[in-house]
Symmetry: none
Subunit: 92 residues, 4 copies
DNA sequence: CCTCAGTGGCATTTCC
DNA sequence: GGAAATGCCACTGAGG
């Protein structure tokens, strides 16, 4: 489709239409991402279901995962703190 | 634990170890999925930030998205209702 | 109430007793409300039972009710969105 | 509106319309009850909010209420059991 | 008995 | 940073 014809103004790119299209695009991007996020959530539920059927309690697993997450976050904070010290002392 | 081979004791596949490995695998699968989920959440925040910097209010966008989601859910429920009617009337 | 009388100490309104009484009142209010809520749940079950005995499937009824609820919620969200647009445009 | 005219058959009380009206009534009864139920739930939330603002922890209050409920249910069961014994022994 | 929807509670996130 | 809202999980209770 060519944009060279001024005759097609009625469906053209007025500023309002431009904004409208832009908004539409942004919303669809979010929706797509949300969709993928939901699928991952569903995958996670599946893993827990599988675990449960093998005899592992999902509740306990969640606890473990929470703890490991806290651990790794604490470790990262420690490292950031260390870097801060180093840079303060001109050691980076 | 089998006593048939003394050599494999330390790293052997006793039932307990088997369960332990299985649990470890499951937990790592969940952690990987959670990781991806977080990245998507981050992507979504980015889109909203970008939208905001272009003059669109995230609050409005969220509302629009919520409405669109409700619509599609309503449509799905409609279909379920229809199936229910059909099954009630022996048409399935 | 005055603390000048030593006679009323044992059952008096010390700060602790005051808090205790207040807590008791709050808890009883919740319990009363929960009670009424349970009665309504029971009434609802009765209606479904009656419907079933007249030949209507509760499952279908629930689905219909769910849909109607979604509709009314969608309507409310529509209005909120409109308000949001208005406030975005300084029309409120 | 008069029911004396046979001319109004098209909107009349055919068996299907009768069933339809009956269903409508049942559904509206349920919806009304659900509505009241929601209002009570809202009232309960309000009480907890009020309690919280006065310094009581809702979480603890919920615990207390749960325990008291268990107690009263246990007591009722005890009494039912006692009645059963009595009737077995011709003491009612 | 067992599945499943509904509901309350909790945690995270978001907005002010 | 604190309050409010949203989404998620566990649990209870109803229905098959």
């Amino acid at each position: 489709m060519s944009a060279s014809s001024a005759l097609k103004i009625s469906a053209g790119t007025t500023p309002e239409n431009f904004a409208k299209e832009r908004l539409k695009t942004l919303i669809e991007r979010v929706e797509r991402l949300e969709e993928e996020k939901s699928e991952l959530a569903s995958d996670i539920r599946d893993v827990y279901a599988e675990a449960k059927s093998t005899g592992f309690e999902p509740k306990v697993m969640r606890q473990i995962i929470r703890l490991r997450k806290m651990d790794s976050e604490a470790r990262m904070e420690q490292e950031e703190l260390l870097d801060l010290y180093k840079s303060s002392l001109g050691m980076l």
